[in-house]
Symmetry: C2
Subunit: 417 residues, 2 copies
């Protein structure tokens, strides 16, 4: 009898490794050598999880840890709708589906609108997992290239429309943006809105960093607040960053399009339900007073300012000053930022410490773009963040002395307005 070996799916090959976690084995090795690794690579906030969230876990009181309804506990759907009302966005609880993190919300949105071979347009650089979710359903992220040299400005309507073809189903954007920290301004949102209306595309907006905006002159507007877009708009959200509750795995998908919600309901039934106690914790979080965000915003603003000031002192860097979230993309004075990020973990330490960065290329799908860039997540308190930035500066010196070096041009930061 002849035997055959089983084969793997192509889709599995198409899913990229996370650029955020790619160098994790090297970081483990560094720790094994006794080097402390300061993580600027991952968006895991160090902000304390608010007491009402932790209390929801600690006071869980039921005899049976049962399934919740597939679309979520009604009380949580209500508290999220009420939160949106406070943000000036008018939605009803039935428009809100509770998901397993923002990740599942993105996955459900793409699944509701894409078949195999269909395309989603996303400004590049982008959150790498969008590509992964698209690949898992054999759809494709088509990048709209934006350049660090132009402060990642959204290309014109005409330019974007050239990327729209018969398989294009949606535009996806995130604001405040991971990995650039950009907040979409009203002209950019209008561009997206018009394109979606004109070409019959969905507009999927990831607004998980809504509260994290650091400049008073920057106005935030939700996709659900854009006119004449009820059928097109799908809002992705999550408690992970908002309430420093990444491990709860609670997100939401909100849309006024009833047909999309009907498909989401079917997807949700298939996976039964989101974590039950996590939903109770999320409910407690969304019922907190909005003043909760003020000190946290101030803390992130201090960190943002610290990173920006530090980078300005490093010759040869270029970056857009982030308006929100807790990331920025920076061009470093190196030709291969991934090699430099490896060097940090394998060959460098200062006072027993080193820094882990996310190589920029992982946030681009266009070949060779982002090779000299890194994403920096400012999720450490200022003392450690200052240390990390000093290590970065010293490591660049060492690396460039070691490799022969990049030209020591001035640092350049770009801001809007």
């Amino acid at each position: 009898m002849e035997f055959q070996r089983p084969t793997l799916s192509r889709r599995g090959g198409d899913v990229p490794w996370s650029p955020i976690r790619k160098l994790t084995p090297l970081a483990d090795e560094a720790r094994g050598r006794g080097v402390e690794v300061l993580h600027l690579n991952i968006g895991q906030p160090d902000i304390r999880t608010p007491r009402p969230v932790l209390d929801a876990y600690r006071s869980f009181d039921a005899d049976v840890l049962a399934y919740s309804p597939s679309l979520g506990i009604p009380r949580l759907r209500e508290s999220i709708a009420a939160y949106y009302q406070r943000c000036g966005i008018s939605v009803e609880p039935r428009d809100v589906a509770i998901t397993v993190g923002g990740s599942e919300a993105i996955f459900f949105a793409l699944s509701a609108v894409c078949d195999p071979g269909d395309e989603i347009l996303v400004r590049e650089p982008f959150y790498a997992n969008y590509v992964a979710f698209a690949a898992m359903i054999s759809a494709k992220v088509v990048p709209i290239p934006a350049s660090i040299d132009e402060g990642f400005a959204l290309p014109s309507r005409e330019r974007i429309s050239r990327f729209i073809g018969p398989r294009t189903k949606a535009l996806l954007y995130i604001s405040p943006e991971n990995p650039t920290g950009i907040v979409y301004d009203s002209a950019e949102l209008e561009t997206l809105r018009e394109l979606c209306r004109r070409f019959g595309l969905y507009l999927i907006a990831d607004e998980v960093y809504r509260e994290f905006i650091y400049d008073d002159h920057v106005a935030f507007r939700s996709v659900l607040d854009l006119p004449d877009l009820a059928e097109h708009a799908i809002l992705i959200d999550s408690v992970s960053k908002r309430f420093s509750s990444c491990g709860a795995r609670i997100g939401s998908l909100t849309t006024r399009n009833r047909l999309v919600m009907e498909l989401v309901d079917k997807f949700a039934q298939a996976r039964l339900c989101p974590p039950t106690v996590g939903q109770l914790a999320a409910d407690a979080a969304y019922r907190m007073d909005p003043s909760y965000f003020e000190p946290i915003r101030n803390e992130y603003r201090r960190r943002r300012d610290l990173v920006v000031e530090s980078l300005r002192r490093i010759p040869g860097t270029l970056f857009h000053v982030p308006e929100g979230a807790f990331y920025l993309m920076a061009r470093l004075p190196v030709t291969d930022a991934e090699e430099f990020a490896r060097f940090l973990l394998t060959d460098f330490s200062w006072k027993g410490k080193t820094v882990m960065l996310a190589p920029g290329q992982g946030f681009y799908s266009t070949p060779d773009r982002g090779r000299d860039e890194v994403r920096i997540a400012y999720v450490l308190e200022c003392g450690r963040l200052a240390e990390a930035m000093e290590i970065l500066e010293r490591a660049l010196d060492a690396y460039n002395n070691f490799t022969g070096g990049a030209p020591a041009t001035r640092s350049a930061a770009r801001c809007r307005a």
Copy 2:
């Protein structure tokens, strides 16, 4: 300017509604009329969640509710590997990926092995969500029809091989089986094993009901315990039913195939991590003494016996006496079991109570199969279960008097060996 409306995906249309929850709106209406609904439709156990699981939530002690590693907390991967060792299955922690419920484990398994248009063979009737997960990735469940008239016996190797074509990637089975309660015997497992080896197929086994077997003469064997199948075998598991912890949303995918695990790792990274506290709770569960299962098994055995005895008294029923899990499929003396299930919720009550059943057709994809069948989940304590069965008997009388009725033939139960 002309506007276009956005369109929905075909995949969304291909995902079926859950047959378990299909009649939920009618149940809500019945409750609205003051009728108490006894749920035999859903596999939500009423068994108390064990104290160590609840304590893990209540004693969660960290400042930040952080992400866990994507493949799960190492301690939990170790405790699951140790649990398998106790079950006589030799695997290492690195073979175990923690997932968001058994649902995600199935989804990851299918995603690792299927591309759009690929096929998975499953004995019919089957757990309806397998069809949903396949549809979400544009793959297809191909039913291997088994008949209630033959006690759902697995067709012969030759018969099954006729369903295997160039797009067939895997055989999927569940033992003990939802919805029939069947435990695959060694001859059936050998049939599946040989087919997978011969045709290069994966053998995906859902063993979430492993401990729930009620007859001493029934032997259970895990897919990971079958010889020469290391590359083929993928094991799906979950704490939901095992530890009455459905709301934790913790499952696992275990395989010795390193290439499959590598794809699972990528899928896992994309969705970041399973619920953190739920993993601590699952860890506590898997570290309990196996004697935990004994009283629960006894309780389910009593329920199984009660349901079987009750059904035997109802003329015109046919069913296979379940060896495990907590479900059975029963043919009722009606031509349209879904109509009867609706009748129970809309037109019938006895002493202010009625019963909710899962119509059988939802567990078949072959048109018209299962129309006179229902799935019964015996997840109520014996007192309420006896009431439910009495209501079922009385409702059948009322329904058949009302509709003109089915012939009152004898009840027939089939058992193996």
